[in-house]
């Protein structure tokens, strides 16, 4: 099986034009292979380089050294619409000062296939409706996106990503800012979608979320990979101490799950 997305020895630094080495190094020697069907969680302290890595994986930044490959081709060789048909992005939040209807916002996902100028057709309408239905937010279709709650907005943004019909979805801290119930409902949804064939890369601040749904975890510390592997291999008291400077006890439960208890 070929990887959907692959980062090979990626380096990046801010402060110099084009992220060339010499500025403040943000990422060093990142290797990552994303295989179809995976749910990859990116963990790391604030400022550890998670967002920068996501931006590199989306082709929004160019690495200073190394290369990011999408579907066996270098990022810079793809056009934006070609990328959009392969990778969708769900930002952490979306501030829109204009009163877009949810349906119109989700329909922007159709740009990936329909382009900027051609009229949306019946097929696109169906795609949008299906995305809204899949997330069970048909009832919000006519509402003003800006007036929805954070949790509802997050669902709309995921629906937009589904409307893009890209097999790989990158989420930037999708859970942040959601209440406890919405957090776990969203994680359940990501799990379901991954079983339907979608591949996910998400950054997160919560090791317990990584444990519950990720198939692979990547720990980033000061721009380097601290560890990479299955959640059980990677999330240990030792790595959590090194990442967050916190003593965390891991308790295996009878049903096979693991509880994390920080020692305060």
């Amino acid at each position: 099986m070929k990887p959907l997305l692959e980062a090979l020895d990626v380096h990046f630094a801010y402060g110099r034009a084009g992220g060339r080495p010499g500025g403040h190094a943000v990422l060093q020697g990142i290797d990552l292979q994303v295989m179809p069907g995976e749910v990859i969680a990116l963990l790391g302290a604030n400022g550890g380089g998670k967002s920068t890595l996501l931006r590199l994986l989306l082709g929004l930044l160019q690495p200073a050294r190394g290369e990011v490959w999408l579907g066996g081709r270098r990022y810079r060789r793809w056009s934006r619409p070609e990328i959009a048909r392969r990778v969708a992005y769900v930002p952490q939040s979306q501030l829109v000062p204009f009163p877009y209807r949810v349906r119109d916002l989700v329909a922007l996902g159709c740009i990936a296939r329909r382009g900027l100028y051609r009229r949306l057709n019946h097929d696109d309408d169906n795609t949008v409706s299906a995305a809204l239905e899949r997330l069970q937010i048909e009832s919000l279709a006519e509402r003003n996106f800006a007036e929805l709650s954070g949790g509802q907005q997050q669902l709309c943004l995921i629906a937009r990503a589904l409307a893009q019909r890209a097999p790989l979805i990158v989420l930037d801290e999708p859970i942040t800012g959601l209440d406890y119930g919405n957090q776990w409902r969203l994680l359940g949804l990501i799990g379901e979608l991954s079983r339907e064939g979608y591949t996910f890369i998400k950054s997160t601040h919560y090791p317990e979320h990584a444990l519950s749904i990720a198939s692979r975890v990547l720990l980033l510390q000061q721009g380097r990979i601290l560890a990479q592997g299955t959640p059980q291999q990677v999330i240990t008291p030792d790595t959590l101490r090194r990442l967050y400077g916190l003593e965390v006890a891991l308790h295996p439960l009878a049903d096979g799950r693991t509880a994390l208890l920080p020692d305060l």
């Binding site: 992005y89 922007l108 007036e147």
Partner: protein
């Protein structure tokens, strides 16, 4: 209409068929033009104008001396300025709407990148150092483009957070060219050139003739058309640069195209009629209230509303006093109360 549509404050309005409302605005424009031709120092009755137009078209007949009188009044004096008002209103409104999408801010007006200050400087320079009207116009367009180039250049210089830097670049170039304008005013001959500059900066449609219109209309209408075709791209840009790029938009290229068209359109209005404020901020806002935020419809609706707004302002400027008021002064005074309405709406949960 569903229950959910009724529950929200805004959606109710644009589910009453945005296209229908756009069609209605299309019908209002000829009506507005017709009414604008009636008013002025010598008001005409609607029937008189109709009879004249029929005679002009060769369908009806009219007494020759009356025909000549109305011909001078309507065809030679009022029509060019009325058409100029509509054209300028449309251009400013569309540039405003486009800049608002690019800057993701409903309070942005066409002057954001310094184009108005630059155009004013260019025109003033033309008035002082070259007395040809054509050079004044050319200077104005070039000045506007130069100011935007400076704004963009400053923005690019610092890179990274580009939209924020563009705003700061615009503040910089606006200040620079306002300073240069002040310098030109200081250097101008205080008895003839200075009043001419000041008067012209207040905005006046009196200069516009058919030959100017023929020169400007293709460029302005072309820019409006391109921006309308970019409607979906503008919607994507309004989601932020990163999101727009991941949706499949070549952000830098589209942004540049939008800024070029919006800059050209607004620089041309300054060169045609001086500084006319508020239209570019207010017309898109009111259009958004009527037909919603989708730029594919919003751009044409803004154009029509901007045209109607300026037709009305011009009618006021010609009828309020026996001496004609500068139209820029009228839009300034009429615009302020409308701006309060805008602020009220922005405050009411436009994500602010």
């Amino acid at each position: 209409m569903t229950g959910a549509a009724l529950a929200g404050g805004w959606p109710r309005r644009w589910s009453l068929s945005s296209r229908g409302q756009l069609g209605l605005l299309c019908l209002l424009l000829p009506l507005g033009l017709y009414l604008a031709l009636l008013v002025g120092r010598y008001p005409l009755a609607p029937g008189q104008l109709l009879a004249f137009l029929l005679a002009q078209a060769g369908i009806g007949t009219m007494a020759p001396e009356q025909f000549d009188l109305i011909h001078t009044l309507v065809w030679e004096i009022r029509l060019p300025r009325v058409l100029a008002a509509a054209l300028i209103g449309a251009a400013l409104a569309v540039s405003g709407a486009a800049y608002q999408a690019v800057f993701i801010n409903p309070l942005v007006s066409p002057g954001i990148l310094g184009v108005l200050a630059g155009s004013s400087f260019g025109a003033a320079l033309g008035m002082v150092f070259f007395s040809s009207w054509l050079l004044v116009q050319l200077g104005s367009v070039l000045g506007g483009c130069a100011a935007v180039a400076v704004g963009l250049g400053i923005g690019r210089l610092f890179g990274v957070q580009s939209r924020m830097m563009l705003v700061l670049g615009g503040i910089f170039s606006g200040a620079l060219f306002s300073g240069l304008l002040a310098l030109v005013k200081y250097l101008a001959d205080p008895y003839e050139q200075l009043p001419a500059i000041v008067y012209w900066l207040m905005g006046s449609l009196g200069q516009a003739g058919f030959d100017d219109l023929a020169l400007y209309a293709p460029w302005i209408l072309g820019s409006v058309l391109i921006l309308a075709l970019l409607g979906r791209a503008l919607d994507a840009l309004a989601m932020g640069e990163d999101t727009a790029a991941t949706l499949g938009v070549s952000v830098a290229r589209i942004q540049l195209l939008v800024i070029l068209c919006a800059t050209l359109a607004s620089a041309l209005t300054v060169s045609l009629a001086g500084m006319i404020g508020w239209v570019g901020l207010l017309a898109p806002h009111i259009a958004r209230l009527l037909i919603g935020p989708l730029n594919r419809l919003l751009i044409p609706a803004s154009a029509l509303l901007g045209a109607l707004f300026l037709l009305a302002a011009d009618a006021v400027s010609r009828t309020l006093s026996s001496a004609e008021l500068p139209i820029g002064v009228v839009t300034e005074l009429v615009g302020l109360p409308l701006f309060l309405l805008v602020l009220r709406n922005v405050r009411r949960g436009w994500g602010g």
